[in-house]
């Protein structure tokens, strides 16, 4: 058993960190017991915004999720040493107000700040939004308009084997990503990361980015229709 670091060092080390107590009873190993002594704990909190219609409801959902996460951190293993829980908030789900979520996130971070739960404080470290509009891509894809094209693109990107012209789009995007990565301005990142992205991994990243950007464009287009 590798106990790992007894203290959580960065957001990549999520979960409880501490020491493992191992006892032997008559030559037999008793189940090891983790005593979490790390004062900091990193957690990724996924919040489903499905059904959220306004900002008040959004704040209520976020606060409830944070409180629940705090209680879990307190009750899981030993809470005696824990003082801070750094939260990476991941927003998912289908929400009619998808276009307003970004603004809500900025305001909720300002208003909540550090969120106390019992003896620990929850700090929102990062927020990523994968909130999607409540649409059926297949239905949208039937129409020959930008929304239909975007919907068809998203459907295609979700399929492992790509065909033209979607594969061309991914290749082209992967090349552009690589170009940016190798840009002189980001040379320091390359030197520090010491990681060379191979084509496959770049294409994977490109596909992921295209999916995210596709949803973002779709949201923006639908927002135009909702604004009419």
């Amino acid at each position: 058993m590798y106990p790992g670091s007894s203290f959580a060092m960065d957001p990549g080390e999520a979960g409880a960190h501490g020491v493992w107590i191992i006892e032997l009873e008559r030559g037999h190993l008793v189940a090891p017991r983790l005593v979490a002594i790390s004062p900091v704990r990193y957690e990724t909190l996924t919040v489903d915004l499905g059904g959220v219609t306004d900002e008040g409801e959004f704040q209520s959902v976020i606060v409830s999720a944070l409180r629940s996460a705090g209680q879990t951190a307190l009750t899981e293993f030993s809470e005696r040493h824990l003082s801070v829980v750094a939260i990476r908030l991941k927003l998912v789900g289908r929400c009619a107000a998808h276009s307003a979520v970004a603004g809500w996130v900025d305001r909720v971070r300002d208003e909540i700040g550090d969120f106390p739960v019992g003896s620990v404080v929850l700090h929102i470290d990062e927020v990523t939004s994968e909130v999607r509009p409540p649409v059926e891509l297949e239905l949208l894809a039937r129409v020959n308009d930008p929304v239909g094209e975007t919907a068809r693109l998203l459907i295609a990107l979700d399929v492992p084997s790509l065909t033209p012209p979607y594969s061309d789009l991914v290749h082209r995007t992967a090349r552009d990503l690589e170009t940016i990565q190798k840009h002189a301005g980001y040379a320091n990142l390359m030197a520090t990361e010491q990681v060379e992205m191979v084509d496959q991994s770049t294409e994977t990243a490109a596909r992921k980015l295209l999916i995210n950007e596709g949803w973002r464009l779709l949201s923006a287009l639908l927002a135009q229709r909702e604004a009419i």
């Binding site: 649409v135 020959n144 990142l189």
Partner: protein
């Protein structure tokens, strides 16, 4: 769906819509018999036309039914008739009377339903905005990709790496970190040097401590040498001296002096004993002191003797007194009776004379008493008869109680009122008492009322007759007649009669007393005569020549009695005198016997006996004092002086013996004592040196091996330690200087903050790259979507729009389109072949072009039926030319088979 798909592009029209409930519409209503062509629906503003349009579209796209709405409608296609019901229970579809699953009547998402709703606002945009852009947007279903791209943060131009700012910040942070890191390296070097210097300082401090230990070790060695020398010096003294305190000789001298004092004291005690024995011998009681009870016994006897002496004197005085009384009684007898006669009178004779005297006194006293009583009663009066008086009083009393003639009439009004008031008071009191205390009082009311009634009626007529009888009987008694028969007169007469009766009863009592007193005086006179007779008889019997009158006999008897009494008393006193003298003699004899026993001469009377007793007491006291002194001094000698002398001598002998000296060897003791101080000094030095050596040894705690080292080795190691510790001050100064410089460097450098800043800058750079990636991906994607839309959907829309535009303008215009990334449009007047720009078209033609593009997109989009087009007041506030164009276009749309529903608030 499958059935409907087979008949694509056939029109679908709404024939009826019923609105039971819909927000914005107050009353339920129904639009019946909508035709497949143009339907004009008129209604004033705010009557719910827009909501009705929503309801119409909800029949086609059920997922857009507003909340809480209840709708129904009939739709018609070429082959089917549909009934659509939407409400709180959900949606229901019937096709030709059969319930079916919800179909997709439109074939396009509800999102696109706004394409079927054309408002005046849409048409006016053709005049206020760039028509080419509007045409492009309309051809793209109303979407503006460029605008969406800008809203998504991608921007309007192909993105490039935007790293300059983040890179610059990162490089600055990195340079700052490097500067601080170099400084930190220097700091670390200084700290390492500091560590070494501190080690050297620790060594120097340890050497200094070792120097102290070595110095202590050397002092310990010196102390041990001094201890050895003092032990040797102490050993030169013989053993006994070590045990001595030095004052032993002084103590023995003091003891010897004490022994001498005790010897002197013993001699004084012996002399006191001799003196006491001498005084004891002088008392005569040297061998034995009279017992304690001797003196009390003598004093008791002396007291008895004194009493007897007093009794003797009293008896002698009594003899003399009785003798005088006897002589006086004899003198009273006088010559009427000589001594021979007196002596001849025996005891009984004198007693008889005395009895006669007492009887005579009694008779005389009785006579005097009766005379006094007779004088008090007074002369005897005639006694009246008491019986008539008593009968008269009875008659008058009866007459007073009996009503006579003067009262034989009904009771007066006053009496009546009095009786009635009395009766009412009694009744009220009875009721009150019955209510408050007991119901028994209620019964009293019942009894009281008849009693009062009887009393009220009591006056009888026959009472007058009884009164007359009483008056006649009274007159017959012969008493004083009554003045009249009124009550007051009767009462006055009755009182007079009672007074007369009282006076008559007193007279009767006096008469009784008189009769009794006369009898008693007669008895007294008879007794007096009998007594004279007896006197004569007694005188004769006694044969003495005394006058025989009672007074003489009484005087003789009295004198004889006193003479006889005094003579008897004198004889008794003389007998007592004799007895007392014998007892006095007896007491003196007993006392003198005791006196003789203890060497005291005889006493002749009680005074002398008292003096002898005092002398005996004095001698006894002296003997006791002397014997006590002897005992006391003997006790002093035995219990204190002798034991103490023995103790002191034993102490001297014990002391000498403990020092190994012979008894009495005081000179040797004195010599040893003189050497004790020197020995003590030597001993004290030994002890001091021992303490010193121990304390020195204690200072070597932890390095006890130093105590075993020899002086040369210690001196050598001390020199070495001194050399090492000598650099301590310099090292401390150097350390302080370096510490100060390190602290200064630490406060002026904040490597941690710089590293954190670098991390933040790095993260910012990383995020900048992520944003660039997102922008590139977003740009590529939007370009892709735009190109796909342009290539796939726009050309057919444009072609259809061109045809429709020609139709709408009745062939007056033809639309020429130069398709490209940014298409351009030009209208050509068919009659002249002249081409004009869009901005040169009339407003009506522009509207017709806009409607053509909108309809073209719809038709290109529709994969199922032709759906109804809803026009919302598109003719309002428009000129005739444009209105005519709109109407023409609408008619053309309808002609092509599409149902048109036109809402307007204009009745004309």
């Amino acid at each position: 769906m499958s059935t409907e798909s087979s008949v694509s592009h056939s029109p679908l029209h709404i024939s009826r819509v019923g609105i039971d409930r819909l927000d914005g519409i107050s009353d339920r209503f129904e639009l019946k018999t909508l035709c497949p062509g143009i339907n004009l629906i008129f209604g004033p503003n705010a009557c719910g036309k827009s909501r009705t349009a929503t309801a119409l579209q909800a029949l086609i796209w059920p997922d857009t039914v507003p909340a809480r709405a209840e709708l129904s409608g009939h739709l018609a296609t070429k082959n089917d008739a549909w009934l659509v019901t939407c409400g709180s229970q959900g949606r229901a579809y019937e096709r030709n009377g059969s319930i079916v699953e919800p179909p997709n009547l439109s074939g396009i998402p509800s999102l696109q339903r706004d394409r079927y709703l054309l408002s005046l606002h849409d048409l006016l945009s053709s005049e206020s905005q760039d028509l080419a852009n509007i045409i492009q947007r309309e051809s793209a279903g109303g979407y503006d990709i460029n605008l969406a791209r800008e809203k998504s943060g991608i921007g309007g131009t192909p993105p490039r790496a935007q790293s300059a700012k983040a890179k610059s910040a990162y490089q600055r942070a990195r340079a700052q970190t490097k500067t601080f890191r170099d400084a930190d390296l220097r700091l670390q070097a200084e700290e390492r040097r500091l560590l070494a210097l501190r080690q050297q300082l620790d060594d120097a401090v340890a050497a200094a401590q070792m120097e102290q230990l070595l110095t202590a070790a050397l002092e310990y060695v010196a102390a041990k040498e001094r201890l050895r020398e003092s032990v040797e010096s102490r050993a030169a003294f013989p053993d006994p001296i070590g045990q001595m305190s030095g004052d032993e000789f002084t103590r023995t001298e003091r003891i010897r002096s004490k022994v001498d004092e005790l010897s002197t004291e013993r001699r004084d005690a012996e002399r006191a004993i001799s003196s006491a024995i001498s005084r004891l011998d002088k008392t005569g009681y040297g061998s034995q002191i009279p017992p304690e009870e001797t003196l009390p016994a003598l004093r008791a006897r002396l007291g008895l003797l004194v009493e007897r002496q007093a009794a003797l004197r009293n008896a002698e005085d009594s003899v003399l007194t009785q003798r005088t009384l006897s002589m006086k009684a004899r003198e009273r007898l006088g010559a009427t009776i000589d001594d021979t006669q007196i002596m001849a009178l025996d005891e009984s004779g004198i007693r008889k004379l005395a009895e006669l005297k007492r009887e005579f006194e009694s008779v005389r006293l009785t006579a005097e008493t009766q005379a006094e009583l007779q004088s008090w009663i007074g002369p005897l009066q005639p006694v009246p008869d008491l019986a008539p008086l008593r009968r008269g009083i009875e008659l008058l009393s009866s007459r007073l109680r009996t009503p006579g003639k003067e009262s034989a009439h009904p009771p007066s009004g006053t009496l009546k009122v009095t009786l009635l008031l009395a009766a009412m008071v009694i009744v009220i009191e009875a009721i009150v008492l019955a209510a408050t205390t007991s119901p028994l009082f209620a019964a009293m009311v019942a009894l009281a009322i008849p009693v009062i009634a009887v009393a009220f009626r009591q006056v009888q007529p026959e009472a007058r007759h009884l009164a007359s009888e009483l008056e006649r009987e009274y007159q017959a008694l012969g008493l004083e007649q009554v003045s009249d028969t009124s009550s007051n007169s009767l009462i006055a007469d009755l009182d007079r009669l009672r007074e007369r009766l009282a006076e008559a009863e007193v007279d009767h009592a006096k008469a009784g007393r008189w009769a009794n007193l006369a009898n008693r005086r007669q008895e007294a006179e008879e007794k007096s005569g009998a007594l004279v007779e007896r006197i004569h008889q007694v005188v004769d019997e006694l044969g003495v020549a005394i006058a025989e009158d009672p007074d003489s006999v009484r005087l003789i008897a009295d004198a004889l009695e006193k003479w006889r009494h005094s003579t008897d008393e004198r004889l008794k006193a003389e007998s007592i005198v004799i007895s007392a003298r014998e007892k006095i003699s007896q007491s003196l004899g007993q006392m003198n016997a005791t006196f003789s026993l203890y060497g005291i001469d005889d006493a002749i009377d009680h005074l002398e006996a008292s003096a002898k007793i005092d002398e005996l007491e004095r001698r006894i006291v002296e003997a006791k004092i002397a014997r006590s002194e002897v005992q006391k001094y003997e006790d002093i000698i035995e219990s204190r002086i002798d034991p103490e002398m023995r103790t002191q001598q034993q102490e001297i002998e014990s002391l000498l013996s403990s020092l190994g000296l012979l008894p009495g060897d005081h000179s040797t003791l004195q010599d040893l004592c003189e050497r004790v101080p020197a020995c003590k000094d030597a001993q004290r030095k030994v002890e001091q040196n021992e303490v010193l050596a121990k304390s020195m040894l204690a200072r070597l705690d932890g390095v006890l091996e130093l105590s075993a080292c020899a002086r040369p080795e210690l001196e050598s190691r001390l020199a070495e330690a001194r050399h090492l510790s000598g650099s301590q001050t310099e090292l401390q100064a150097t350390i302080i200087r370096i510490e100060q410089s390190v602290n200064t460097a630490k406060t002026s450098s904040n490597l941690e903050a710089a590293v954190a800043d670098e991390a933040v800058a790095f993260e910012a750079l990383s995020q900048s790259r992520a944003r660039d990636w997102e922008k590139v991906a977003g740009w590529n994607l939007s370009e892709f979507v735009q190109s796909q839309s342009r290539d796939k959907s726009r050309p057919p829309v444009f072609r259809k729009a061109r045809d429709l535009f020609t139709d709408f303008t009745a062939g007056s215009f033809r639309l020429e389109i130069d398709e490209g990334v940014k298409p351009s449009f030009r209208a050509v007047e068919t009659s002249s072949g002249r081409g004009v720009g869009l901005d040169q078209l009339s407003s009506g033609t522009r509207v017709q072009l806009l409607m053509a593009v909108r309809l073209a997109f719809i038709e290109e989009m529709e994969s199922g039926h032709q759906l109804p087009l809803i026009l919302d007041e598109i003719l309002g506030n428009t000129d005739d030319l444009r209105a005519s164009a709109i109407i023409d276009a609408t008619i053309e749309i309808c002609r092509l088979g599409r149902q048109v529903i036109y809402f307007t608030a204009q009745h004309d």
